[in-house]
C-alpha cells in the first residue's frame, strides 16, 4: 500500500477564546492536489502554519511518508520537503530575482542560483528573467518568483495559500498548468482557497473546514458548487435574481479626472471618465493597487483635490466638496477597510452610526448637534435587526464583531440612509458566503429601488453577478464600459492587464 505523503490526526490548537482547530485530520497522497476549503476564520491558516512549523499544536500527530515527525520551525519543514507560498510575498523590492532567491540558499554561489532558476523556469514554463529587480515585476511575476524559490528546495509537499487572489484570470490559468505538471511528477499540493470553481477544476481531493472542525472530505470534481458550499457554510447560498431594468438619468458623472498620487506608493489617476445612472449597477474590476483606492478617495470626497468640473452628481459639480457635503447630496459610500475607516473599532455600533448619519441629533446649531442616546441606540438596533447582524446589541464595540457582521452593519448603515448614489468597495471581501449573498442581494434591491450603484471589487465572479455594466481599472486608467451581456472572463482578464485600447477604441467613441 502507498504511504500517504502527509497525515494529520487529531490536530487541536486553541487560542484564548477561540478553538482554531479541533481534532482535525487530513490525509494527502503523493501526487495529489488537495484542497483545504473553508470560510474566513474556519481554521485553514492555522492548520497550514502547524504543518509548516510556525505554530505548535496543542495536541495531535503529524506523519510524513508514514514517519511521525515533530516540525518545530519552517526551516525544519523545508528540510523535510515541505514548501509554502504565502499570500503575501516575502521579496525585497530593490534586489533582483536571483538575489532574492539566493538569500534563502546561502551555500550556493549567485551564478549557480541563477542557472538553477533558469533551469526551473524552463522546466515549468515559468517565464522569468533572473536579472530583473523585483520592483519592476507584476504581481503575477512576483508569485512566479516565490514558486520557483519554493520549487528549488525540491519539495514533496507544496502549500499554496489563496494563490489566485492577486492574479488576472489569464495568470490563474498559467498557474494551474504549472500546478498540474507538478502534481503529475508526484509532488503533493495543498491548495487553500474559498473559490469553489477553482477547486473543482484543479483538485482531486478536498477537506472542508467549518469552525475549526472537519465537516467533510470529498472529491470536488464529483461535487457541485452548491454541495461544496453546504459543507463549507452549512447552508446553500440563496440565488440572486437579476432583472434587466432600464437605467435612468446619470447620478454620477466623471469626466477626464486626473489626479497625481497623494502618497509615494500610490497610483496617479489618468483621464478617468465614468457614468453611473439611476437604477443600474456599474462594476469596476481590476487587480488591487491599480488606482481603485485613489479613485474611491476622489469619489467619496476624502480626497477633494479633484479639478473643478471633473466629478458631478446630477448637475452639481462636487469635485471640491468634502465627504459630509457629498453625503448631504445623497452619496453614501462603504469603504474597503472596515475597522478604522468604515467604523471606529473601540466605539459602540450606535456611536459608529454618527460617522455618516445625523438622524439621532437634535438642535444642529449647538456644537454640531445634541446626541439623543436613546434614539441613536434604537436606530442601531433597527439596523442590527434589519440586516441580520450578529452582535451583542447597539452597545457592542465595532471590533467585537466578525468581519462579515461588521460589513453587514456598515452596509446596513449606508443603505438605511436611502442614498441616491451608492458606492461600495470590496463589498464581500473576507465575508463568509452567507453574508456575501445577503450583501449582494441588498445591492441589487437598492438598484431596483432606483439608486445608482457603483461596485469596485477584485472578485470577478461577484461583479458578473451584480453588475449591469463593467469597467476595468489598470495602472490608474479606466477602460470604457462594457455591457454585461458582452463581457466574458477572457476579455475582462485581458483588460485587467491594461490592454483595452485595440478592442476598446470603438466602444469609447460610441460612448462619447
Amino acid at each position: 500500500m502507498i504511504q500517504p505523503r502527509l497525515q494529520l490526526t487529531g490536530i487541536t490548537k486553541a487560542y484564548p477564546g477561540v478553538v482554531a482547530n479541533s481534532n482535525v485530520s487530513l490525509t494527502v497522497m503523493p501526487g495529489e492536489t488537495h484542497a483545504v476549503l473553508g470560510e474566513n476564520g474556519a481554521g485553514k491558516s492555522t492548520l497550514m502554519k502547524i504543518i509548516y512549523g510556525s505554530v505548535k499544536p496543542d495536541a495531535g500527530e503529524m506523519r510524513l511518508n508514514g514517519q511521525p515527525v515533530q516540525i518545530r520551525n519552517p526551516r525544519e519543514a523545508r528540510a523535510n520537503g515541505i514548501s509554502m507560498v504565502f499570500q503575501h510575498f516575502n521579496l525585497f523590492d530593490t534586489m533582483t530575482v536571483a538575489e532574492n532567491v539566493w538569500l534563502g540558499l546561502a551555500r550556493e554561489s549567485l551564478e549557480q542560483v541563477t542557472a538553477s532558476i533558469i533551469a526551473k523556469a524552463n522546466e515549468y514554463g515559468l517565464d522569468i528573467d533572473p536579472q530583473r529587480p523585483v520592483h519592476t515585476l507584476s504581481v503575477g511575476e512576483m508569485q512566479r518568483v516565490e514558486i520557483i524559490r519554493a520549487l528549488l528546495t525540491r519539495p514533496e509537499l507544496l502549500i499554496l495559500d489563496e494563490p489566485t487572489s492577486v492574479l488576472t484570470p489569464q495568470a490563474v490559468e498559467k498557474l494551474f498548468v504549472v500546478l498540474k505538471k507538478l502534481a503529475s511528477e508526484g509532488c503533493s499540493i495543498l491548495y487553500i482557497s474559498h473559490k469553489l470553481h477553482e477547486i473543482r477544476e484543479l483538485c482531486t481531493a478536498c477537506t472542508v473546514l467549518r469552525g475549526g472542525k472537519v465537516t467533510g472530505v470529498c472529491n470536488p470534481q464529483q461535487e457541485s458548487n452548491a454541495s461544496l458550499s453546504r459543507l463549507m457554510i452549512g447552508a446553500e447560498p440563496p440565488q440572486l435574481e437579476h432583472h434587466v431594468r432600464q437605467a435612468g438619468e446619470s447620478r454620477l458623472t466623471v469626466r477626464q479626472l486626473s489626479l497625481p498620487r497623494e502618497d509615494q506608493f500610490g497610483v496617479d489617476l489618468e483621464g478617468i471618465s465614468l457614468d453611473v445612472r439611476a437604477g443600474e449597477v456599474v462594476g469596476i474590476a481590476g487587480v488591487s493597487g491599480n488606482g481603485q483606492k485613489e479613485l474611491l478617495y476622489a469619489l467619496s470626497g476624502e480626497d477633494c483635490r479633484s479639478p473643478a468640473g471633473s466629478i458631478r452628481m446630477g448637475n452639481r459639480d462636487v469635485s471640491g466638496l468634502h465627504p459630509g457635503s457629498r453625503r448631504k447630496l445623497g452619496l453614501h459610500f462603504v469603504p474597503e477597510e472596515r475597522l478604522g475607516r468604515g467604523a471606529v473599532p473601540t466605539l459602540s455600533l450606535a456611536h459608529n452610526l454618527m460617522l455618516t448619519r445625523n438622524d439621532a441629533l437634535s438642535s444642529p446649531k449647538f456644537a454640531g448637534g445634541w446626541i439623543q442616546v436613546k434614539k441613536l441606540e434604537a436606530q442601531a438596533s433597527a439596523i442590527i435587526r434589519g440586516f441580520n447582524v450578529k452582535a451583542a446589541g447597539p452597545r457592542a464595540m465595532a471590533k467585537s464583531l466578525s468581519g462579515g457582521n461588521l460589513q453587514k452593519f456598515i452596509v446596513g448603515r449606508e443603505i438605511d440612509a436611502r442614498p441616491t448614489l451608492f458606492i461600495v468597495s470590496q463589498p464581500t471581501w473576507g465575508v463568509d458566503v452567507g453574508a456575501a449573498a445577503q450583501i449582494r442581494g441588498e445591492i441589487l434591491a437598492l438598484r431596483d429601488a432606483g439608486c445608482a450603484v457603483l461596485v469596485v471589487s477584485e472578485e470577478l465572479e461577484e461583479l458578473f453577478e451584480v453588475s449591469d455594466r463593467l469597467h476595468v481599472i489598470a495602472r490608474g486608467r479606466l477602460s470604457p464600459s462594457i455591457a454585461m451581456k458582452d463581457a466574458t472572463v477572457e476579455k475582462i482578464g485581458e483588460w485587467m492587464s491594461g490592454l483595452w485600447d485595440k478592442s476598446g477604441r470603438a466602444a469609447e467613441v460610441q460612448h462619447v
Binding site: P16, G301, H322, E337, G369
Partner: protein, 353 residues
C-alpha cells in the same frame, strides 16, 4: 514563570482597579523611600495622606491647589482625546496669568469688582493666544506640536521673567521679581470667608460637567474624539482634522489661561516670577490618572494636590526635600502605566517547560 496573555476584551474591573493598585504601589514605594531616608514611614505617609484632609482649612488648601490642576487637565484631556499632544499647558497657564495681570494692574483703588470678569476673560485670551502659536505652526507648517508647545513653555517663562523683572516690577518691592500687589477690587470672590478658596473651585467643577456634556452628548465632541482614535474614519466621515486641532488647542489654551488668571488674581494676588509651579505638567498626570474622564479627573486632581501639599509638609515638618512631590507624582504615573497592562492582558502562571 509568569506569562502575560492578551485578553479578548479590555477588563472592566482593571479599568477602575488599575489606578487604585497604582496608588497602592506608590504608597508602598513611598514607605520604602521614607525608611531609606531614615524617617518614620507612618509620619511620612501622614504628611501626604492625612495632613491635607484633616481640617476644613486643610481641605480648603487642597481645593486651592486642585483647582488649577483640574482646569488645566480638563482642557488637556480634550487635546489628548483628539490626539493633539499639547505638552505646553504650563506656558499657556503663564501667559494667561500675564494677560490677566495686565488687566489687573490697570485697576485703581476705586475700581469695583466688575473688573474680575475682564481679568478672567483676559486670562482665557492669553492662554488661547499662546496655544494659537502652536496651532498655526502645526496647521500651516506641519510642525510637531509636542516639541513646539513644550519649547513655547520656556519662551513664556522668559516673557514672565522679563515683565516682572523689568517694566512691571514693583518699584517698592526691594527688587523682588514681582509686580505690586493687585488692588482689592481685582480679587476673585472667595467661596467661604476665612478660606483661600475662590469661585475658581466652582468654575472648575462646572467646567468638568460642561466637558462631560461636550464629549459625550455633542456631535462636535464626538467628531473630535474620532479624529483622535481613528483618523481614517474621521476623514471618511468628513470630520475636519484641522477644525479638531484648533478646537482642542483653543479649549486647552483657554482653560489653562483661565487657571492662570484665577491664580494671580486669587490666592497669589500679584504676578510673580515664582508663579510657575509645574501645574501645567502635573496636569498631564492628572489627565491620565483620571482616565481622560471629566469626573475621574476631579479625583486625580485632588490626589495630585495632596502630593503638592504633602511635599511641602514633608519639607517643613520632616526636613525632607520638596522634590518628594515630584517623586510621588512620577511614581504614581509610572505605576499607573505599568498597571494599565492589566486592562488588556491577564497574568498567567506557567511552569517553565
Amino acid at each position: 514563570m509568569f506569562k502575560l496573555e492578551a485578553r479578548q476584551e479590555p477588563s472592566r474591573f482593571w479599568v477602575y482597579g488599575a489606578p487604585v493598585l497604582a496608588l497602592l504601589l506608590t504608597v508602598l514605594v513611598g514607605i520604602a523611600l521614607f525608611i531609606a531616608l531614615g524617617k518614620n514611614p507612618l509620619r511620612g505617609l501622614e504628611m501626604f495622606f492625612w495632613q491635607p484632609i484633616k481640617s476644613t482649612y486643610a481641605l480648603g488648601e487642597l481645593a486651592v491647589k486642585a483647582t488649577p490642576l483640574l482646569l488645566i487637565a480638563l482642557g488637556l484631556s480634550v487635546c489628548f482625546r483628539s490626539n493633539v499632544m499639547n505638552i505646553g499647558a504650563e506656558g499657556q497657564y503663564v501667559i494667561g496669568a500675564v494677560f490677566a495681570s495686565g488687566v489687573a494692574l490697570l485697576a485703581e483703588k476705586t475700581t469695583g469688582s466688575w473688573i474680575v470678569l475682564p481679568i478672567l476673560l483676559a486670562g482665557i485670551a492669553g492662554g488661547m493666544a499662546w496655544a494659537t502659536v502652536t496651532a498655526v505652526l502645526r496647521d500651516f507648517f506641519n510642525a510637531n506640536e509636542i516639541l513646539v508647545s513644550l519649547m513655547l513653555v520656556y519662551v513664556a517663562l522668559q516673557i514672565l521673567g522679563f515683565l516682572v523683572g523689568g517694566p512691571w516690577m514693583d518699584p517698592g518691592g526691594f527688587n523682588f521679581p514681582q509686580t505690586k500687589t493687585f488692588e482689592a477690587g481685582t480679587h476673585i470672590p472667595k467661596l467661604i470667608a476665612g478660606s483661600r478658596m475662590t469661585i475658581g473651585v466652582l468654575l472648575a467643577l462646572v467646567g468638568s460637567a460642561v466637558l462631560w456634556v461636550f464629549l459625550f452628548r455633542t456631535r462636535a465632541g464626538f467628531a473630535l474624539q474620532v479624529g483622535g482614535i481613528a483618523p481614517a474614519a474621521a476623514r471618511y466621515a468628513g470630520f475636519s482634522s484641522r477644525q479638531a486641532l484648533w478646537i482642542a488647542l483653543m479649549i486647552s489654551g483657554g482653560s489653562a489661561g483661565l487657571a492662570g488668571a484665577l491664580e494671580v488674581a486669587g490666592p497669589i494676588g500679584q504676578l510673580s516670577g515664582f508663579l510657575p509651579a509645574g501645574y501645567g505638567f502635573a496636569a498631564i498626570i492628572v489627565v491620565y490618572v483620571g482616565r481622560l474622564h471629566p469626573i475621574g479627573m476631579v479625583f486625580s486632581a485632588l490626589l495630585m494636590s495632596m502630593f503638592y501639599i504633602g511635599g511641602e509638609m514633608a519639607q517643613s515638618r520632616l526636613g525632607l526635600t520638596k522634590s518628594l512631590t515630584g517623586v510621588f507624582q512620577g511614581l504614581l504615573l509610572f505605576s499607573l502605566l505599568a498597571c494599565d497592562t492589566l486592562v488588556n492582558y491577564s497574568v498567567k502562571y506557567k511552569r517553565a517547560a
